[in-house]
């Protein structure tokens, strides 16, 4: 199976406009999804709980932010807060209506985040770039304050934290202490695949083109009859929806409980870094970015002590944590200078090379 498009002819426009026009890509994505599901049976509990579940959740948040920053060109630093809105909305809904399935509430909680996102997206109609980033910072601080200071949001819990109640899907525990990582992993994976598919449909369609038009040349876009007002607020809504769902999943399908400071500005920055390193304006880049940032410390924790131990150098957990920040910072500078389109662009180049291999072009 060589990665080659020779002999694959498109006889209609629908086939030409498919998201994966190459047969090899279609087979590849099918195999990857199959492998991902099989990890539920082959992966260890540590692998699922500490690596794959957070990777998928962060990838979803990164997709959400990427639609805003990468596709529409609106810089936002409120991601963490929008995730928080999703999480708290889901918590309230779950506790007020315990009879309804939790999956429904995870999806519905995204709409609350979308609504809040639209409100904080209103400044984007007048300001751009760094100024908008500062305006979204207001969302970050205000919402985080709200999570802490409005006890109704955490049901007057004395600890101030929200805790996942026990919930089932088809009689299998997926939320709460009794849920196994395997069950939660399958739920997370399914939600992420579904939402990624929808995101890909949106960015390849009219709405995606409008977003990119606004990003590349807003004056010309307005002249094409694209209303900046609608397109930008739509971007904020969709982006915040994704972040909200990711936040709800983070608390109820990964942590099992959370306090207000989980949704702090560091979370926002972390997701922004994922988007930048992964590739602005690329969905697959969001996965790459999440994988790199999330798996780097785990990989370092596994390999560095083993490498340095024979040399008599002890590498502790705190050293790895410091190294992680240093490497992350260096990588962000590197990518901003050398490859602003991030890992996704490198992936593109590799695919292009493979396509003509063994010839140079």
């Amino acid at each position: 199976m060589i990665y080659r498009e020779a002999g694959q002819f498109k006889s209609n426009y629908a086939a030409d406009m498919a998201v994966f026009p190459l047969r090899q890509d279609r087979i590849g994505i099918f195999v990857i999804i199959l492998l991902a599901y099989s990890m539920a049976y082959f992966g260890s509990t540590f692998m699922l709980q500490a690596v794959l579940i957070p990777f998928l959740i962060f990838a979803l948040a990164a997709i959400g932010l990427n639609m805003l920053v990468g596709y529409t060109g609106l810089l936002s630093l409120g991601t963490g807060a929008f995730m928080g809105v999703g999480a708290y909305a889901c918590y309230k809904l779950m506790t007020i209506f315990p009879g309804v399935n939790v999956i429904v509430w995870i999806f519905v909680s995204g709409f609350f985040a979308a609504g809040i996102g639209v409100i904080f997206g209103l400044p984007s109609l007048r300001i751009k770039g760094f100024y908008l980033a500062v305006a979204t910072l207001a969302a970050q601080f205000f919402l985080q304050w709200t999570f802490n200071r409005v006890p109704w949001l955490y049901n007057y819990n004395v600890s101030g934290a929200i805790e996942a109640p026990r919930r089932t899907l088809f009689d299998v525990h997926i939320v709460g202490a009794a849920a196994t990582p395997q069950a939660r992993y399958i739920v997370v994976l399914t939600i992420v695949i579904l939402l990624t598919w929808i995101a890909s449909n949106i960015v390849h369609g009219r709405i995606g083109r409008q977003w990119m038009a606004i990003r590349d040349m807003d004056i010309a876009a307005e002249l094409m009859g694209i209303r900046p007002f609608k397109a930008k607020l739509m971007a904020f809504a969709v982006s915040s929806y994704y972040c909200g769902v990711a936040g709800a999943m983070m608390v109820f399908l990964w942590y099992g409980g959370a306090e207000y400071n989980v949704f702090n500005i560091e979370q926002s920055f972390l997701i922004l870094f994922m988007v930048i390193i992964g590739g602005l304006g690329s969905l697959i880049g969001s996965f790459f970015g999440a994988a790199l940032i999330f798996m780097l410390p785990i990989a370092m924790g596994a390999f560095l002590p083993a490498i340095f131990a024979p040399l008599g150098i002890r590498v502790g957990a705190e050293t790895i944590e410091h190294l992680r920040f240093m490497i992350l910072g260096a990588m962000i500078i590197f990518f901003l200078i050398v490859e602003p389109h991030g890992l996704a662009r490198l992936w593109q180049i590799v695919k292009q090379k493979l396509r003509v291999w063994p010839f140079p072009y």
């Binding site: 426009y13 009219r206 038009a213 590349d216 009859g225």
Partner: protein, 299 residues
């Protein structure tokens, strides 16, 4: 105003020279006259857009002062003038980027004062820019498809699924876009990001994007700036074809007098924000005020 015979002579010479040097587009209009002779004017009755006493001021600077002219349905109308005469400001007023300080603009019989650019777009006014304003990160195809945005109606639900009405709509508009791509002969660069294209092709894609809107009035801001002779010929051909095949009314700003005189049915001349002449290319060419504006007046 004293008439300087030398300047008039130079002007006459320049005019005849450019006309004879410009290669005539072949077969655009059946009644294309030989060069030198004034073209028998095509007659247009219905006024599509009327500019009535429009003034535009930025603080103390007057960009436009009491300019009035009309654009009739089906014609090619040129707006010319020396640098800084207010030509682009005029286009910006027409499609809603600027709002005239005084006066009114009537489009299809409806007077309007304040209008956002997207409203002008939905009213049927499309435009290209002096410096190319394409969506650089998108392919040629996506750029032209973006021009169809106004005509696409599928709602968010179907777009999320990329199925049913949304996909039908995509295919339907892709077909129209492919027609435009064929018309402009840019099939080979269909999937190339426009940022990578040479300047001449970018201008062509921009024209395609404006055409995708199926406008009633197409505003072209220096469509041939910075092009070589061949590219200018191609572009002139496209402009004439658009006018002939689709019956699109065109208003263009251009500095190449040969092109202006050959393409346009009527010319309006601006200088320092004022209208100094209006008429057929033949009339305008001989207008003393125009000659003075372009070549200067001795003091």
């Amino acid at each position: 105003m004293s008439v300087n015979p030398t300047s008039a002579e130079i002007a006459e010479k320049a005019a005849t020279k450019t006309v004879s040097e410009t290669v005539e587009p072949q077969g655009a209009r059946a009644f294309e006259p030989p060069a030198q002779e004034p073209a028998p004017p095509r007659l247009f009755e219905e006024v599509l857009l009327a500019v009535d006493n429009v003034s535009l001021r930025f603080g103390g600077v007057t960009a436009l002062a009491e300019v009035s002219f009309d654009i009739r349905k089906g014609e090619i109308r040129a707006i010319i003038g020396p640098n800084g005469a207010g030509k682009t400001s005029m286009l910006n007023c027409i499609n809603g980027f600027y709002h005239p300080s005084e006066g009114k603009i009537t489009f299809r019989g409806e007077a309007r004062r304040k209008m956002r650019p997207y409203e002008a777009a939905s009213g049927g006014i499309a435009r290209t820019f002096q410096n190319v304003a394409l969506f650089k990160g998108m392919s040629t195809l996506d750029n032209i498809m973006a021009g169809r945005s106004l005509k696409m109606k599928a709602n968010l639900f179907w777009q999320m699924l990329r199925f049913g009405p949304a996909m039908r709509e995509e295919v339907e508009h892709r077909r129209v876009v492919e027609d435009i791509i064929d018309f402009l002969q840019i099939q080979a660069i269909r999937k190339t990001p426009v940022g990578k294209l040479p300047y001449g092709l970018q201008k062509r894609v921009e024209l395609g994007r404006a055409l995708a809107m199926e406008p009633d009035l197409l505003l072209l801001d220096e469509p041939m700036a910075g092009m070589n002779l061949e590219e200018k010929e191609d572009m002139s051909r496209f402009i004439l074809d658009v006018n002939n095949h689709f019956g699109t009314t065109i208003a263009l700003i251009e500095h190449d007098m040969g092109v202006v005189m050959d393409l346009s049915d009527r010319v309006v001349v601006l200088d320092y924000g004022r209208k100094i002449a209006d008429g057929t290319p033949h009339e305008v060419k001989r207008d003393q005020k125009v000659i003075d504006a372009y070549l200067g007046v001795p003091h």
